[in-house]
Amino acid sequence: MDTEDYIIKQISVFSENKPGRLASIAKALEEEKINIFAFSIAEAKGFGVVRVLVDRPEPALKKLADIGFMVSFTDVIAVNMKDEPGGLYETARILGGAGINIEYAYAYSGKDAAVLILRVDQVKEAIKGIRENGGELLKAEMFK
């Protein structure tokens, strides 16, 4: 299977640190009936970046851009971790061993498993490394 199948389009939104910004992002997605799978906010002085995985990335990006947000797609991967002690260690060990740097990560605990979303410096190598070491990745088609 092609590594491309595992590259997921995350939506990154620039947001000034002002009340109501997140509400307008969430409202826009609600209006388009877009479901959010995973979500994080990274904050700095005066601004933040909202990162979201959604079920339909293309219309979500269009809607946010149309109402004036600065948005872009970022390639991330999603690792299906064992929801038990040591689950995170296993994934981190594989990436560390392959010399792959994690730019940022966030996680959510789903019904069946815990999912770790990763932005790494070498996406294809990360996908290959994780799969060869018995790790399980979510396919991008789940987010379309």
């Binding site: 990154s12 620039f14 990274a42 005066g46 601004f47 970046v49 004036g68 600065m70 872009s72 932005r119």
Partner: protein, 424 residues
Amino acid sequence: MPVEEIKKIQYKNLKTLVYRLYSFSEFYHNRMKEQNVHPDDINSLEDITKLPFMYKRDLRDNYPNKIFTASTEELVRYHVSSGTTGKPTVVGYTQKDLDLWTQSLARSLTACGIGRGDVMQVSYGYGLFTGGLGLHYGAEKTGATVVPTSVGNTERQIELMQDLKVTAIACTPSYLNHIIEVAEKMGISVKNDTLLKTAVLGAEPWSEQMREYIQKETGIKAYNIYGTSELSGPMFTECSEQNGIHVWGDIAYTEVIDPETGEQLPAGEKGELVMTILQKEAFPMIRYRIGDITSMDDSVCPCGRTHPRIERISGRVDDMLIIRGINVFPSQVEHALMSIPEVSGHNFMIIVDRKGTLDNMTVQVEMKPESFSDKINDLMNINRKVSHTLKNSLNVSVAVEIAAPNSLPRFEGKAKRVIDRRNV
């Protein structure tokens, strides 16, 4: 015209003006008495320094028309200034005043290459503001066809620009930028889809970097225009050399002074612009301290014109910000921001606060969409770069806020980029 000839005309007109005002204007009569100067003391052009200055506050104190030297029957028009820095001032015109204003602008627009066969969109405000009507009559006088669009309804302006094959535009630089942005949103490239080739831009300070940006982005040749309602309105522009604004010597006598001492400064030195309009009837202006900062160049221009030039206005004595004792002009901020490719340097705001006894200046600037990264570090680096560049050019530390594209205010008339909360 040889320089000596211009000087002769200037002296003759000055002498006539001073005699007329001493005899017929209570304001000037009293002012000259206070200064202990009589028209007989003016025996050369250089003697103009014996005459008292006129200040903006004189216009306010004599609101609305106490300084006028024409009767109501002789007046054919009023204009009222925008009051950017305070109470507005009223200017009256006789027919001769309007003719002289029109003639001055017609000469200026000709120097920018505008004339018969051109279609000029006048996107300065029409009405009390002098920009719209001034450019309107000036452009008509050159033989150009005028489209009096005024300001606003930008999409319609862009449609007309295409439909009427507009070749020249007169507006504020910030409005031209707004037009370019709106056109892009409509899928129209000003460079490729219109015939615009000349822009006459003014009514607010703007930088050489902004000119380069406009010319590169749109293929339009952008000329600086100068004037203020007290002088009549916009009156003078650059020529094809784009190197200084020609001030017609037979119409105005120009001085640049040290704002502290009032002494005349030599050519090339920056100071406060002082103008005497030599042939005005209704609302005379002798040695009026405009408050704009510039320098003079009295050498003959490579275009062949002998009329003196003033350098692009770099700021105003009164919108100059003093931040922790250091002079800061909004145009300097723009200049610095335009050098940073990651931000949109012509869309910025300056906010000044005082915490305790310390001034705090914040510059908000829009990021360009292509420099957006979802990594906080990359964004912080842009922020740091802007801070360093501003610190180096202003010699004062400023806080920087990176804003999203199109999130800061847009201006259709004069841009108001400074919010100074220190006096509130």
